[in-house]
Each structure stands twice: as C-alpha cells, then as structure tokens.
Symmetry: C2
C-alpha cells in the first residue's frame, strides 16, 4: 500500500504560499504566484458574469492545481499542440472547461487568445471555441468531455495507448514515447460507474504513466457531496491498486501540490491518484456551496472577490503583464522539449528505420498500405457451410489484426464468443503478471462494457488514426456502452464494435439478453455505422466499409448472429457500402413485392419469397445499413426497392420502429423476447417462412384488390398477434 | 472499520463440514448436509447436461451458500411467496438462475416442482418457468436479473424500500416491517459500474438491512478474473462504508458461512458484504475454469462428478428423500413466521387503525383513492405566462408527492433543475447524518444515473404498486440509465422518469448534453411511455396518463424543456392519453397541410403555420406520445393527421428517425448540436418559424404542383442544409 500525505490538513483558508515556497526551488517568486492565483480567480468570475452563466467555482478553487500543471509539470508545446510526444491532459470534469481555457491562454496557445476565452458561453455557431464543455476539434483539447466519468475512461485509454506504443517502439537507447497522461476529475466522475470501472482496470493494468488529479472540493450542483457520497476515496483507490497521494490545502498550497506531482511522476508500477482538497469558489463568500459550482457569482459578489484579491471591481478581464511573464517559460520549455524530441526521433530514424517507418506512418494516421482488403478471402474461399456471422467476422480479425499494429482488440469478458481473439495474440498486461506484457494488443476489459468503449475512445483519440480499437460484447450490452459509443460518433473517432448474439437468436438467455429497440438508437444516431450483415460474404463488405478511408471519422458497430446463417447465392460484399441491394430475384423485372430483410433474417426472407402464393414476382433486398442506403441517390434507392410500383415489406427480428420509411409493412418484434432455443423463438414470434408467407400473402392480396399501394398512415405490422403472454 | 474473518483460508478442497458442524447447534447432521451438497451438485450437472447448455459451475461451487440461505437464514414462506414481510432474495448473478431454481424446489415452493426445474433451458414459450435468467413473473423471483450489476442496484432499492416503510409504519411495540434483503453476486456484478455506484450509495445510506453475498469464485466466461480484476474487494468495501466478513472456504465450510450470516444479521449501521471464496464447478475436474462457468460439463464429466460424490452415473435428477426431509423445516418455519406476523399485523390494525389502513392499501398496490387528479390545477389556474415544462411538471410533484406516501422522489444531483423537490420534504438519510432520516422520501442518488434507475426498479419491485419512484436527470443522461429503464419496461415496473433539458434547448452546455437520437430508443422500446408535452396543460395530462391505472405496469419518461414555452390556447390535458390531437386549426375542415410537432416545438409549429404563404388551410397537431397515438383506431388517427388528403410534416428538434410513419417530411436535427444559447441554436439549426415556413412552403408548393401526395421513398428532411461545420 502506497499512500503518501503531502502538506498538512488545512486550518481554515490560510495562505500557505509564502511558507511553502521556500521548500521548493521550483517556485519562482511567491508574490508572483499569489498575483497569478488572484488574477485567475477574478478572470473566472468575470468570464462567467458576462453571460451570467457557467462554472466559476472550480477555476477559483483549483487555480493552484492549474498553475502546477501548466507552468511546472506537464510537457507540451503551446506552439504545436499536436506534438506527438506531448503529455495528454484530459478534463474529465468537462463542465469546468473554463479552467482549461484560461490555462491554454496563459501558457501561450495562440488560438486561445483572451478574446477567444472571452467567448465562453457565446455561440459556438459564431466562432467561439470556448464551448460549454471542451471539444476535441480545438487546439489543446485532447478529447470532448462533459458526460461525467467518461473522461477518466478516455484517460485510461490514452495511458494504454502510450504504454503500448512505448513497449512496441521504444529501444533501450532511444525512447520516442515517454509521456504522461494527466486526468483532472471532480467528485462527479468518481461517483459515476464508468469512472469506477476505469479506475479498477487501470489499477489492474498498473498504468504508471497515468496521474489522476482529484479536485476534491466536495461540492456538486446539489451542494455538499456528503449528502450522497461519504466513502474514503483514497483508501478505496489503494484497494484498487493505485498509489495515492493526499494533499490537504490544494487551493493555496502550491508547494505541496508540486511535491505531490513530482512524487507522482517518479512512482512506478501503479497509476497515481492525487486526492487534492480544494475549496470551490475560493475567495468568494459563496465558497463551498452548490451555487459556486454552476452559476455566475452575480455582480456584487464579483466585485467583492476583486476587492478581496486586490483588483479593481470596475476593471474586467484584467491580466497583469507579470502574470504573462510568469507563464512565458511554458513556450520556451515546450519548444525545447519538442526540439530535443525531434533530434531523438531523427536518431531513431537512422538507427531503426523499419520501426521509424511504421511509427511515423501511424503518427500520420495511416494504418495500412493499400491492398489490405486483398487479405480477405474471396467468396469462393469463404466457408460454404452455414455459420454464424460472428464467426465470419472473426475471419477478418484473423486476417488483419495480427498483421497491422494499429489494431488493438478486446472484449468485455466474451473473447471467444465474439471472435476477437487472434493468432499468436499477446495480452496487454503488466509485464510482471505472467499473463502478457505492454506490447500486447489483446485487451481484457473485464465485465465493464461502458469503460471498454470509453477506453477505446481514448485509444482512438490518442493520436487520431494511429489506433483502430476493436471492442466486443453481446449486442444487448452495447446499451451499457451506448453513452460512450455516442461520444465516439460525436467526436469522429473510429472504432470497430463487435455486437454479437444480436437478437432473439441468442436463444435460452432470454429477454434480458435479446435486443429489441437498441438498433433504433444506433440508426438514429448521427455518424455511426450500424451494420447487420446477412452472411459471411457481407461480413467481408462490412469490414471493408468500416476500414475504408471514408469511415475514418466514423465508428462502426457490427450486429452479428449467434446462430448459423447460410452463405447466400446473391450476396455481394461490394454492395454493403450501398446500404442495400437486391440479393434474390435480381432478374425479376417488375416486382409486385419487395421484401427487405437484414442479418440472419435475410435467408428466412428468401425462403419466404419462395413460399408466396398470391404474388410471384418477388425480390428480396438485403439492407445491412439503413444509413448508407439513405445516402444513395433517389434513383438507386428506387431501383432497389421499386417502392413506387411494388409493395414493400420489411422482415427483421427487432422493433418495427423506423421501417415505415422503407416499407409499407413489417414483420417485427412487438414485445420483449423469451427464453427458449432460438429456432423455437423464431417460430414463436412468427418468423418461420411459412407463417411469414401466409401473412404477406394475405396482406398483399388485400392491397392487390384495392389496386393501389398503401399510403401514409397505412403502415402495418403483420405479426401483431405475437405478443408476450 | 469492520472486517471480520470467519473460518480459515482453505487448504485445497478439504471438506470441513464435519469438523465445523460441531461448532454450531444449527447444523443438523453432517452426513445429511454432505448428501445435500452432493445431491445439488449432481443435479446441477444433470440439468445443464440434458440440453447441453447453462451454467452449472456456480451451483456446484456455491451450494453450501444456498443451503445456508434457504435452510437456515432467510425468512420466507414457500407456501406464500408473496408474504409481505418476507426477506427478499435477489440473484444479481442472474445467469446462475439454476442455483435459485433448485433451492426454490428444495425449500418447497409448490410451483417449482422438479419437473419445472427440469425445464431449465427448455422453451419458456411452452410453459417453462426455469428461464435462462430469473424472471419476476414467477413465484419466488423478486426481480428479473441478467444484465450484470443491476441486481445489486435492485437490492439496494429494496433495502431502501424496506427501511423507508419500517421508519414510516413501525411502532415501538409493533414492527410489521423487519425483513432483510439478501443479494447474491458474482464477480461480474462487482466489475460493472452500476454495481459500484449502488454499493457506494448503500454504504452512504448505512442500509444495515442489506446483506450482499459475494460468491467469490474468481472465474468468469473468459477464465480467471485475475486477468482483468485484481483489486482488494474487501478493503474497497470497507472504504465504502460497509461491514465486511470474509469466509475462506465457501464451497465446504457451511459452519463458517452460517457464522458469517449470523454476524451479518446482527451488525448495525452499515450494510454487510460477505466475501465468500468458492470453487466454481466444485467436484468436477473442470473446477476453477471458464468452461465450468457457462457450459454443460459433458456426459463423461457428469459421470465423473457423480462417481466422485457417491451417485450412480446412469441415474439422473436424483434427489434422495433425506434431502427433502432436510429441507422440510423450511415450510414449517415459514408458515410459522407468517402466522406470527399475521397476529402481529392484526394487533397493529387494532392499535394503529390509520396506519394500518394506509399500509394495507399500499400492500395491495393502491397508491391513492379516487379523485387524486382533482388536486391538479385546472388550465385556468395554471401559470398563464410562458414557463419551462420542467417547471410545470414540478407543479404536479408539489401537488401530489407530499400527500401520498407511495411516492419517493429523487435526483442524480439535479434536484432543483428538474423540479422534483417538494414542500417539507425529508431526505432519506441515515438518522445520525443530521441530513434527514429513513422516513424521508427525497433520495439523493448522487451522480449515479444508472444506479438511480436500478434502485428505482428495486423500490418498485419491492411490493408491486406500493411505491412509485420519481427519478430525475437531464434527458441526455437517461442514456446512462437506459439499461435500467429497459429492465423496468421488461418487468412492467412503474416509475416516473423526469428527463429535463431535453434538446438543443439546453443551450450552452453544448452537444455532449443535447440528445438527438435517444428518443428513438425509448419510442422503439416496448412498454414504456415517452411523453413530450407542449406546455403546462399537457404536463397535467402527462402525469395523469403516467399515474392512471392503465399505466400501472408501465414506466414513463417525461421529456421536458429547459426553456420557457407558452401556455397554448388549444392544449388539452385530456387528449394526451390519445397520443396526438389537433392543437391549432381544429376548425380547418379540409386541411391541405398538417404539421405535427412535439414539446417545445409545438409553439414554434403554430407560429410557422401562421407564416405559410403557399398553403392556408393548415392544422397543427401536438403529438406528446407516438406510442399512444399508435394505439388509437385508424379512424381517430386519420381524423387527426388527415394524411390521406393532406400533406403532413413533422417538426422536432431530434433526429428524423421514426417520423416517416406519420409524416411525408420532417424538420429535424441531422447532426449533433452545438454550444450556444438555445435561441441561437434553434435559429442555427433552422427551427425559426420564418425559416421553417419558407422550407415548408416551397416543399408543399412542389407537391401541390404534382397533384399527389408523396409516397414511400419520398420522405424528405427539409432542414438537411443545416449541418455541423
């Protein structure tokens, strides 16, 4: 157990700066530091007051932590925010973005001028980068945060990325990767389950390049956290395999913070948690209250704060020149650090040209040279017998992942069921665990689906395009991970999500494990590919689509069957990117009926088509991706669905929601599932071809007799009789 | 810190039964107990082998824990599984359902005959109650579990329910509520974030009626958990405010388990965590491996196990009479316990008739007498000025919650923003906290959205209908809670979900906080009411719908605006239950155009209607609930939308997904949002009435000139020009 105390328990709000300053040679002039602290506090108060909104309290309470980070501890180059070997800073407490914006300005990021910072809470739609939560698009922001807890998972992912790269490319004499990951968290992120999951896994993995800085102000929107959170966080983190450093007066005791950070950088074998007590809204009379968390202080209080801190109430946004001078070293130090690294990397290039080539390619975001898709078996070389699409997807994992270092794969405890293991895989594990080492590209995420995808986002964001994380669990449990998958779509981070056992086809596990509505969320979500392939051939096309450059800013989720599906005569990998295509009955010129189906239901749809009595001119369309189909021209869409002249019916063992855009009727799930073998569930819920043919026949006959196609409001669900008893 | 060790670290698999039996007078005959253990192990092996699937390992490893629970520790009456004051047992490790089924059988639940238990993995669709995960519909099952971690949250909710009832109704001399909540968890639930959140809150609340039994076999699907989980769980739980009892040989040392449970029942002021080490698949050669977790053992191995344990390999499903005799006391004890309680409750009735009346009404699931909705203000008495629907919803919270003890309210740290606080509220807190007491009906869930709803499900399932939990956070964070909301819908548990700040209307917080696609999930999900009211009047109808008896098996989520909306002339609370109705232009007999809108967009739609140039005969429909509209007759639906004769367009600041069923076109969000004041976002994304009128005019004119209505495949999204830059 490592638990270190730095500084002393605070007695009130005594200012310890001068006293402590003498104990470290790092601190410049105590007078300067006090001015800097006061400047930042007044600036935060002004910035929130101008639009009467925002989060001033954290900036005011944690200003000394910010000084320690940006002025002293972190390695970065403000002149080149993208420098590869920079430390990464993740603000998990995203609502405190002003904290980050102010230090980005003071440390010299050109884009973060004072004018820009003053745009806090003014419209992003009119050019403000100072959004209400930090956004990845802007310089110095590593990842978009806001939904609490996820920043911690992103940071753990970044720490994995850095460790994995270091283990892969560093040499005894030359180490191009040796940065640290700093994550700033408030109380909220530590309450959220995803934060807990990530902390647990980081401890297990022993990620000593990760430093989690806890701004322990113990106040949230609703007031003191002791109304809902009274655990001993430091002791808990020790139990979870972390080094813990306690700092007791984080609003003032800069020397103690620096001492803590210095220790944190030296500690080995475990990640480090700094529990730094601060006073939210420090120097305001609203200090230590909920309103200091998420409201502007009010004009009167802002004036009070300024008066207390030696500033003039009538002057706004004041940053004395001495404060800029205090931070001027950031640019110098940063420039030197990058220059040194450039020299090192040049030496690396000369001595290790092969590794250099691969690494520098990956830094540019290129994961493979052209022609990678030739590594996938042709249709003729695919297994010709029926097999689950989860297994067919595994063919691609086997073909590509061992060859390309950009892939990391992993599972939330369903490695074999989801077919993401690969030949000669090494597990990403602590070298002394006996289970693997940090070169490993197979990550055991544990039963932590949300953290898995949050970590994946961190890995993907580490250096965009450098990694393509592959993550897997049953489709149903992509609902646990949905908040993180959404953040990937929002940020344009590519991952591959393997979502197996994707329907009632999971069988005996029953309704708790059978997704009905989840696809509707992913289909409605912007910028994510939800792909449900019909067979092994479409699995090839699905991977091609996801790995294509066109998807480089888009995550993909593959919904895959547990149960075997036949290799279809008409399936065609090249058509998957079109979203839908005619898979059966292409030669039917003027179809009377088009059946759309997806995934495991496509084979059933083809069987159904063959059994129809009323209507003989039938086509079956496989629609692996609604989103890609929507992106096609109206002409292509009409050529596939023939919806202006033929009846169209959709077959899918999920909810009907969303199908009215493509079909006049659907055969869908209208309720939750059941526990039974999959074959019996398909039968029970009405998806047997003979039953479906009967339903469609009767429906089609009635419309035939009406002599017109159904219109708006006439969408029918043909299996409505099948409901849970 | 309380951490107690019971028994000794196991040396191999030595059988400690005989040795320990002498130390407690509770244990009957050691010989019997060994026979019982062996019988259960062989039975589990047989039951999985018959259909070659299932989870035998936990039953075999934890059989002694089951004996301790059902034979000795838990208070319940097999003859009346619904007896109110029974202990509640929650199997959080739902995949180990066979464990529960076997003990339900042995302890004498009539419905759980051996024939019924033998239906494990046979179709629920053909009468099996022995589903792949336990389902609430069946006797002795308190809650449906399976998605890992949620059972723990359900158990914490039940412990809250029991504590709250006890504090409300128990008297010094008569205590009708004094049961315990037992939760059985495996490794997985403890890794899941929702488990962690729930554990943290239970520790904070000091729920000493909760006993969490950790079947610590350290093996999951993917093998040994030390490949991903190496924390010191006992130390962690101590840090989280739990009593911890360690038992080291839980597969054999029944006496130690009993000693632990006895201690657990006596310990006060904190919940109790029993960390019981077991050997998964005990007595098989596959013990301690992943395959023992989730696969049948195979014929050969089943034979081996039986031979080892003194059973005949060729005989299946053998339960010796002595085993039944061993458990016969369960029925006797249970019957006596209930009889005693009936006497007590009779005394309670005589002495405390008022409390008795309310309590017994609530036990029957009746939360209020008729006429409660008269407590809601009439439209004339509602605030006539514009106000946010979140605030209007709060009017109902104020009107009803203080009056009816069935309501518990709470928030994930957004109490005031979501308007779920109420007059004279008492917080549900430890009595010695100084913050409230256990009679409290305001629960501070902390920043733990998923646990909040999991707890709510436990509260709702405690005694169905006895509580109606009200839970709140921003709509966006109902994505964190979605896995639990889904479980409520699956189980038919009523809760009220307050989901405020429901769109880009949240403003400056930006895209991370602006839901786009989430509504599609909730609209597609069976058995949940997603209601988005247009104004204060519809807020009244929304609450009426959710609290009506028709919704007693259905959870509701209210999507509410942060920003003010006017009270609409045409709004009508009585129409909310119809899902949609004409809110403007009712007198327009033959509309050329119908505009559907929801929530805050309805007022904008009415403004838009007034600005149209091309088309003058326009109606506006408010559609607070798609689901309820779908349930109306075709005639009603046609009368509202006039879709066979008029153009229909939908306006909603969410994704267009799903609207093609109701409209020919939509004005929707096509991308994630932005950080800006809400008014500017509505403008930026094209939702200003003048812009919408222009778009609709031009679209309508083009169809007017075509002389027909759009057909399938011609659905248009009229704001597609507005995309994120």
């Amino acid at each position: 157990m490592t638990q270190v105390t730095v500084g002393h328990q605070a007695n009130g709000h005594s200012n310890k700066l001068e006293k402590k300053a003498a104990t470290t040679d790092k601190v410049a002039s105590p007078g300067d530091e006090q001015l800097v602290l006061n400047t930042i506090r007044c600036l935060a108060a002004d910035l929130c007051q101008q639009y009467k909104g925002g989060h001033p309290g954290t900036v005011m309470g944690a200003a000394a932590i910010g000084i320690a980070l940006w002025r002293y501890e972190m390695r970065y180059n403000p002149a080149n925010p993208e420098w590869f070997n920079r430390d990464r800073f993740i603000l998990s407490a995203g609502h405190a973005c002003l904290f980050q914006y102010i230090f980005l300005h003071l440390s010299g990021y050109e884009a973060w001028s004072l004018d820009q910072v003053k745009k806090y809470h003014s419209p992003a739609t009119k050019g403000s980068m100072a959004a209400g939560h930090p956004e990845i698009e802007y310089p110095g922001i590593e990842v978009t945060t806001g939904p609490l807890g996820q920043g911690i998972s992103n940071a753990v992912g970044m720490a994995i990325a850095s460790k994995q790269l270091a283990a892969t490319y560093n040499k005894d004499d030359l180490k191009p990767i040796d940065n640290k990951i700093w994550c700033f968290t408030g109380d909220g992120c530590l309450q959220e389950g995803v934060g807990q999951e990530s902390i647990s896994l980081a401890g297990h993995l022993g990620l000593d390049n990760l430093i989690l800085v806890y701004d322990n102000n113990s106040v949230t929107v609703d007031g003191r956290i002791d109304n809902c959170f009274t655990e001993d966080t430091s002791a808990k983190l020790v139990a979870q395999g972390w080094h813990v450093i306690d700092v007791y007066d984080g609003s003032n005791d800069l020397a103690a913070i620096l001492e803590g950070f210095d220790k944190a950088k030296q500690l080995k074998a475990k990640p480090v948690f700094l529990n730094i007590r601060t006073v939210i809204g420090y120097s305001s009379r609203k200090a230590n209250t909920g309103p200091a968390h998420g409201q502007a202080l009010g004009d009167e209080e802002v004036a009070y704060v300024k008066t207390q801190l030696g500033f003039r109430p009538e002057e706004k946004f004041v940053i004395p020149q001495r404060v800029y001078e205090y931070f001027s070293e950031c640019r110098t130090k940063g420039g030197e650090a990058e220059a040194d690294w450039n020299v090192l990397f040049k030496q690396y290039q000369e001595k290790y040209p092969g590794d250099y080539k691969e690494l520098s390619q990956r830094i540019k975001g290129e994961w493979a040279s052209e022609g990678w898709d030739a590594l996938l078996p042709s249709k003729a070389d695919l297994p010709q017998a029926a097999q689950p699409t989860r297994k067919s997807s595994g063919i691609v994992v086997q073909a590509l992942v061992p060859k390309f270092n950009s892939f990391v794969a992993g599972s939330a405890d369903l490695l074999e069921s989801t077919f993401v293991s690969f030949k000669d895989q090494v597990e990403f594990q602590k070298p002394d665990s006996g289970l693997g080492d940090y070169t490993g590209r197979q990550i055991r995420f544990g039963i932590r689906e949300f953290a898995m995808v949050g970590l994946g986002n961190g890995i993907a964001a580490y250096q965009k395009g450098m990694f393509i994380p592959i993550m897997s669990t049953f489709f149903m449990f992509w609902i646990y991970a949905a908040p993180a998958a959404r953040m990937a779509a929002l940020q344009g981070l590519r991952f591959i999500g393997i979502a197996t056992h994707d329907s009632i086809g999971i069988g005996e596990d029953g309704p708790t494990h059978q997704p009905i509505a989840l696809a509707s969320f992913y289909r409605a979500l912007p910028n994510i590919n939800l792909i449900r392939p019909a067979d092994a051939e479409e699995c090839m096309g699905m991977w091609q689509l996801a790995l294509d450059d066109k998807s480089k800013d888009t995550p993909s989720i593959f919904a895959l069957s547990r149960q075997p599906v036949p290799l279809l005569d008409g399936s065609d990998r090249s058509k998957v990117q079109l979203g839908a295509y005619v898979v059966h009955g292409r030669d039917v010129e003027e179809p009377e009926l088009t059946i759309i189906a997806t995934g495991a239901e496509v084979a059933r749809a083809i069987e159904t088509a063959k059994l129809l009595q009323t209507i003989k001119r039938v086509r079956v369309v496989s629609m692996p991706s609604q989103r890609h189909f929507d992106q096609q021209s109206p002409e292509y869409r009409e050529s596939v669905l023939k919806q202006t002249s033929s009846l169209v019916v959709a077959i899918e063992a999920w909810a009907s929601y969303g199908w009215a855009r493509y079909a006049h009727a659907s055969l869908s799930m209208h309720t939750f599932g059941h526990s039974a073998p999959q074959q019996q569930l398909y039968e029970y819920f009405g998806f047997e071809p003979d039953n479906m043919a009967t339903k469609i026949d009767s429906w089609a006959a009635s419309w035939k007799s009406k002599g017109r196609l159904p219109g708006l409001g006439e969408f029918e669900e043909l299996l409505l009789g099948y409901v849970r008893h």
